[in-house]
């Protein structure tokens, strides 16, 4: 048996694995990445939404573009990426077995990073094995990679960020989302992600779950019902929907099989059953590292930093970087990662019920239960201000690590400060020039430009719009409320697209003067609600 020698092997060409490979290669390490898929990038190429964070985390850039950038960088640094290569074994003395085609190859490496990511969790309900019940990841694969609609009428189970983001993407692909359901009493993901789904008219059913998927050959419908505090169905609360697809987004589990196989020490944590490792991903076995979702479920943004930290640590472990260089780079990356791990959705706050923001403002219960903030509630947040002249209204009411709006505004109309989880402030007496950069920069689509014309008795609201077809100037339709209900007539006054807006169109609608604080979406007159 031939055993080939490699310096540094990375398993998984997703955000963590590629980042580690790039970082290590930068210091001169020779890196080989194995991935079982036909294309690299992991799940990044299915992420068509803009990412959160700050500039250093590539905030406001869409996931698939980040993927392209990582691949370009890996190629530039001479990283070897082997595709259709499934790692099937990890043994003592850093021996690794890889299946490529029908052949099994053996390698030995000086250091190995496991960046295998995570797999989707599932829930069982009657009919859950029927064709038409799919994972949320499957929906993303079909529509964002292969340009095929996952279904026509879809019910989404799961209100975490994956469930919310994929629901929105389904609508962008032209599917109808009939309901978003979660057994938990509160929405698990970001309020801004929920709100952009809610304003399209998708109803949220919290404390509900699926009772049955109907159909004999494939999904023809679904029945949901409310559950009590002990997660038991409450009789008489059943609701039926005609659907052809049920999408399940109920969390992820780290794919730790290889690490366990190698005998790495594991830990049972809130982030799942994960390898016990230090901040650089070093496991209990010297030279074996773990980064990304396999080391605890988080976002792609944090996976990329974790990967870089592991890459740097491997470079030092193999003698390519001095202890000083390692410490310096590690500190920089740690700060960057620390910034992402702050706020209400930070790993340390998982499962906790928070009542107030860091600023001491009472959170909106409605946002957590229905997916949208109450018309009166918005006024207690610093992103709101009333003014006749055009100004930004920032409907960002939870402490999440994100600040592109602050840097997008060159007129200092928006202030977050140094702490990126602080709520954005719509600055009083600032002069908005209606450039729209803030609206397009907001990954949560939570910024609106608002103005009033008291003489005419009208007002204008500029909304972010990521659907086709784009409305046309002069077109008549309706202003929709935060919950997606028709509340007033609306005329389209302006439609702006620009390379700088990166796919987000800015649609300005004219509404009666009393509705500028309430109209948050637009629908053409002849379109069904």
């Amino acid at each position: 048996m031939k055993i080939e020698r490699k310096e540094f092997i990375v398993v998984g060409a997703g955000p963590a694995g590629l980042s580690a490979a790039i970082e290590a290669a930068r210091s001169g390490v020779s890196v080989t990445v194995f991935d079982e898929n036909a294309r690299p990038g992991g799940q990044l190429f299915k992420q068509i939404h803009k990412f959160f964070g700050s500039k250093e985390h590539m905030a406001k850039i869409r996931g698939f573009r980040i993927g392209e950038e990582l691949l370009r960088e890996a190629e530039e640094k001479g990283v070897e990426v082997v595709l259709n290569a499934t790692v099937i074994g990890l043994y003592r003395e850093k021996e690794i077995q890889v299946q490529i085609g029908t052949e099994v190859h053996h390698y030995k490496a000086d250091a190995i990073l496991i960046a295998t990511g995570a797999s989707e969790n599932m829930v069982n309900f009657r009919g859950w094995t029927l064709p038409g019940v799919i994972g949320a990841g499957a929906a993303q694969t079909m529509m964002n990679l292969y340009h095929v609609k996952p279904g026509n009428r879809i019910l989404m189970l799961g209100s975490g960020n994956v469930g919310l983001v994929v629901s929105y993407q389904l609508m962008q692909a032209g599917c109808e989302v009939v309901a978003l359901v979660d057994a938990a009493p509160r929405i698990g993901g970001y309020g801004v992600h929920a709100s952009k789904v809610a304003r399209c008219g998708v109803p949220f059913y919290l404390s509900h779950t699926i009772k049955e998927a109907e159909g004999t050959d494939c999904v023809r419908g679904v029945t949901i019902a409310q559950i009590d505090a002990k997660y038991q169905f409450i009789p008489g609360t059943e609701k039926h929907f005609d659907v052809d697809t049920i999408c399940v987004a109920v969390g992820l589990s780290p794919m730790t099989q290889l690490l366990k196989m190698d005998g790495v020490e594991m830990a049972d944590t809130r982030g799942g059953y994960i390898p016990a490792c230090d901040e650089t991903g070093a496991t209990s076995i010297p030279g074996i590292f773990a980064a990304g979702d396999v080391a605890g479920i988080e976002e792609a943004s944090s996976a990329m930093i974790e990967g870089r930290m592991s890459g740097e640590a491997v470079a030092a472990y193999l003698g390519y970087a001095s202890a000083d260089e390692k410490a310096l780079r590690e500190k920089e990356l740690e700060e960057s990662l620390g910034a992402l791990r702050q706020g209400m959705f930070a790993p340390k706050n998982r499962g906790k019920k928070l009542e107030k923001t860091d600023e001491g403002i009472e959170l909106s219960e409605m946002l957590l239960e229905k997916g949208y903030i109450g018309d009166d509630e918005i006024k207690r947040f610093p992103g709101y201000r009333a003014e006749i002249k055009v100004h930004p209204v920032l409907e960002c009411t939870q402490n999440i690590p994100c600040n592109p709006c602050q840097t997008a505004c060159r007129k200092d109309c928006i202030s977050i400060g140094d702490n990126i989880t602080s709520l954005p402030i719509s600055v009083k007496d600032s002069t908005c020039i209606d450039c729209g950069m803030c609206v397009a920069s907001c990954s949560g689509q939570a910024i609106f430009l608002v103005s009033e014309n008291p003489e005419k008795g009208t007002g204008e609201v500029t909304i972010p719009y990521e659907f086709l077809p784009l409305p046309e100037v002069g077109e008549k339709g309706y202003g929709l409320s935060r919950s997606g209900q028709r509340i007033c007539d609306a005329t389209v006054r302006r439609v702006r697209t620009s390379k700088a807006y990166d796919g987000t169109a800015l649609v300005t609608i004219e509404v009666p003067i009393g509705y500028t604080d309430r109209a948050r979406f637009y629908r053409k007159a002849d379109e069904a609600q």
């Binding site: 064709p131 990841g137 079909m142 279904g151 962008q172 032209g174 990521e466």
Partner: protein, 138 residues
Amino acid sequence: MDRIQNHPILGESPVGKSVTFTYDGRELTGYEGEPIAMALKVNGIMIHRYTAKRHEPRGIFCDIGRCTDCVMVVDGQPNVRTCITPLRAGMKVETQYGAGAEPFPENAEDAMRFAKDERGSHPISEDAGKDAREEKHS
């Protein structure tokens, strides 16, 4: 299910090279190189296989080659993960019954009818589904 023609973020969808393949004897078309499962989906095919014990239908589930729900008999080889196997011209794709392409007795008549059927949907009889469910409860 339809192909997406134009997407607000991804733009116009690429048009692949159209190739012909057979599905349970019927000629269908798809894009060369796209996963077999996608070509089947745009042709309205939802059922990829029937399970060995309970004869229950299965289709695409994870779509990344992990769950094996979408396996079919491709060019005579069973257990091919259609969601990650690229479509090639002339491929012979067959519904998998248990571990082979031989229909179960309750599916045999449907499968025969289907081979001649030009409609888009798989004419599974209501009874076949009921059998599977009863078996599940017994």
